[in-house]
Amino acid sequence: MSRTTETALVREGRSSYEGAAATAIGLSGVMFAVGLGTLVDVLEITTPVAGVQLSTAMGIVLLSLGVGIISFGLASRLDYVDTRPQPSAGIVAAIAFTGVWFAIGALVAGAIGLGTVSWMAVGLVAGAVAFAVTAFPREDIGSTLPAGSVAVLGGVALTIGVIGPGWEWVLVSYNATLFGDTAVPVVVMFASLLTGWAAAKAYGGFGTRGRNVGAYVLIYLIVLSILAVLVGLVAFVVVKGSPGLFHGFSIGGEQVISWPFLTNGASLLADVAGVFPALVGTVWLVIGAVLFAVPTGVGAAVFLSEYAEQGRFTQVVEVATNGLWSTPSIVFGLFGAAFLIPRFGNNKSLIAGMLTLGFMLLPLVLITSREAILAVPDEYRDASAALGVSKWKTIRSVVLPAAVPGITTGVILGVGRIAGETAPILLTTGGGVLPGKSAAPSVLGGFQLSASPPFVTNPSLLEATSALPYQLYALITAGLSGNIEAPQQFAWGLALTLLLVVLVFYAIGIATRYYFRKKLHQ
């Protein structure tokens, strides 16, 4: 046989090998998704599939995946296909498989009912064998055999029904029980993760290219899962909350739009209980926080980046700002309760909440404004200075306008965050669980002049006020019940309203950023 035909043959073998590996990757992905579906009860493990229960069917697929993965390794090791494996699968894979097999050994031994010492021993032996199998043979065996064996073991257990619908394992000391309908999907998801990775390595022909493909498959899977969780969460709240939010919603008629959930308070008289007072409360909290934090934050950012010399003082401010940024929200709440409440009439009040949220917003505004101001090119400042413009005029008419996009984006995103904060206003603002419409604060009309200090008062600023996140919390602690029709539906509608308020801020913030970035690149 001439050399050219040999390579052609090998190449042909390789393409069918790649095809098989790609199929295995796809099948692993499907198994992962089915496992996830079973875990969240979209599917039942007892559902009949092609004449057998779903758990048995998944077992058969896992078993064949496992056998397939091992044969990929063997085919490569016996040189049936042209791959480029390295001498060893590497220490990272070895440690990972040691951990995996230690856990499997320990769990199996524990489920059989062995004592602590025995399951430890079994786990250690399994881990040691896995380490040896991964680290010492060539990479094609080292990365397929341990992964394929997991799938084979899981597949056998599911197929013969060792783990299945009726299975349970009572964890006596934990006072908990593991059932088949949780264990089966977990086994399937975990095993398919490993087979997917191993098949991806085989697809890449092992070696550096194989590792590249294997890692990419895992990372893509992770990112997809994160996005799926995000979409799932939002969709779930939208589906559950829409009936409440749009209860009694109509377009046309006397008022152009009638949206009772947003315009009513909660009372027995109203046809549809609504969240108006809490919505207004949130709006005022945000306005108050912005009025305090935005000028302060932007001013500080201007001073730090334009006037101050880099030194001890700027360093301290930076540390303090980052420290404030990461301070837990409940600590801000405690601070507001200890510092602000005694100074504003000794009970929970709207203004205490405004300032507490303002303190939280301040570091966010400062950090983003400073970044935006530092991003303004020095050429702008130099050009202005060359024209004989004074420093302050340069800042006012050159630097700040150029930094406005960044500052706006930062402020909007920051506002989105504080609008959903519950912990600080729980301790400082309070309010009723199901306030009537009259409880909505009327800040603008509330100002009064008086002859004694402090001369200007505003009772609605000094009253405990409900806000969207607080009302949701209060409803939950009240056990989702109250003097309204369908409190569950009301609570979900409230959750959706809150989510929408926050997401609208985020959407606007992100859209602004894109708009300005596009303008910048034109």
């Binding site: 006072n175 908990a176 550096t208 290219r209 590792r211 590249n212 890692a215 990419y216 990372i219 990112v223 994160i226 969780v229 969460l233 779930f236 000028p295 500080a300 001073f303 006037y307 930076e318 540390v319 303090a320 700002t321 980052n322 420290g323 990461s326 301070t327 837990p328 409940i330 600590v331 801000f332 709440g333 405690l334 601070f335 200890a338 510092f339 100074r343 303190f359 301040l362 570091p363 004074s390 800042i395 006012r396 959903g420 519950t422 912990a423 729980l426 301790l427 200090p453 402090p454 996140p469 949701l472 919390y473 939950i476 569950q488 959750a495 989510l499 926050v502 997401l503 985020y506 992100i510």
Partner: protein
């Protein structure tokens, strides 16, 4: 910093003299009217702050004076007043942090005194919170141990970190190195939005969906578990890890990666052998910040946990969730008085100090990394 004290004092004296000299120059150069306005504005602001601290109802007067004098100065001497006012605004962050420390510690004093414990004949205030495990504010003996809640916080944070750290770093790698530009423009805002979902919404879903589900799925008494609170909190800490780690990864100069790629390395090789090691400190800072977020996460924990102040048996029991430091405060504040309320502030101190230390540590790590990469550029 000089270890020689005499030299240090000399340096300091020189520094002060320079400052004085500059101040004198500033005073002589500035118009007397402008100077007067600045002094009036700063003075009235300080007075207003003092009045506010003393909870005086006369605070309005100096505050009004500040507004008027600043407004007048803005019209007549804008540059000077702008500089002064922005300086005053800069100090607000430091002052706020200082006030937080002072007020939380002040409120916690009674609890520290109540929970004194004696070591070697010396009474150490607050030690009793960490040497026994009983928290009971109602039945005798009334004790305020923080250990059960610290245990809860550690459990939740550990599980959350196991979720957020690997997933967060993987997602950051994806955004910074792997994703094609169009995909990146979709994924990045997606993860930002994940950060925007309010914690009480997570808590609400946890309370109405996850808790009942775990209760039946694992045959538990009640559905509160550290396991699932940890998972939820991990999801909430994830965006912090992603965005900070992504910043660190993108700050690695392209020239370093290009070198590896030119030598024929695969993308994954250049990531694991160049980008990740170079950005290692930034990535660990990201994880530290994520841990800080997880420790401070309040509402999801409050709503999902059972609210009993006890350590589960055995201590590794993730199937039962009792209380964390944050949920203790959120649940207990308002219905508590006296030493009990003060003990909540003590819990706040533990939280605040831990998270502040994490924040400072991560800043230190980041600064070191920036210095190192700056040298490589």
């Amino acid at each position: 910093m000089s270890s020689h004290t005499g030299l240090g004092i000399q340096d300091w004296r020189k520094h002060v003299e320079q400052r004085l000299q500059r101040t004198r120059e500033f005073v002589t150069e500035t118009e007397p009217a402008a100077l007067a306005i600045v002094i009036l504005s700063i003075g009235s602001l300080l007075t207003a702050f003092g009045g506010f601290l003393l909870a005086s109802s006369w605070t309005a007067i100096p505050f009004a004076t500040f507004l008027v004098s600043t407004g007048y100065g803005w019209i007549r001497h804008q540059a000077l007043i702008a500089r002064t006012v922005t300086f005053a605004m800069t100090t607000v962050t430091i002052v706020t942090l200082g006030l937080i420390v002072v007020f939380i510690f002040y409120e916690a004093i009674p609890a520290f005194q109540y929970e004194s414990a004696t070591v070697f004949g010396v009474s150490v205030p607050g030690l009793g919170m960490f040497t026994q495990t009983r928290w009971d504010a109602v039945t005798e003996p009334v004790r305020y141990s923080l250990l059960p809640m610290i245990h809860g916080t550690v459990m939740v944070t550990a599980i959350a970190t196991l979720v957020a750290a690997p997933l967060g770093v993987a997602a950051a790698l994806f955004i910074a190195e792997i994703a094609p530009p169009t995909v990146r423009e979709l994924v990045k805002p997606g993860i930002e939005i994940l950060a925007g979902i309010p914690s009480i919404v997570y808590g609400f879903i946890g309370f109405t969906v996850i808790n009942p589900w775990t209760s039946t799925e694992f045959a538990l008494n009640g559905g509160s578990t550290y396991l699932f609170v940890g998972l939820v909190v991990g999801l909430m800490a994830l965006p912090t890890v992603v965005s900070v780690a992504e910043d660190a990864l993108t700050s690695v100069p392209d020239s370093m990666k290009d070198g590896a790629l030119a030598l024929g390395a695969t993308d994954w090789q250049s990531m694991t052998s160049i980008t990740l090691p170079a950005a290692f400190s930034g990535v660990s800072a990201a994880v530290l910040l994520g841990v800080g977020r997880a420790i401070g996460e309040t509402m999801a924990a409050t709503v999902m946990l059972a609210g009993t102040q006890a350590i589960p048996d055995p201590v590794t029991n993730v199937f039962y969730g009792y209380e964390t430091l944050t949920s203790l405060i959120a649940r207990g504040y308002g219905s508590s008085t006296g030493v009990h309320e003060s003990a909540l502030f003590a819990a706040g101190i533990v939280l605040f100090v831990t998270v502040l230390c994490l924040s400072i540590a991560s800043q230190y790590i980041e600064a070191r990394m920036r210095r190192r990469l700056g040298g490589a550029e």
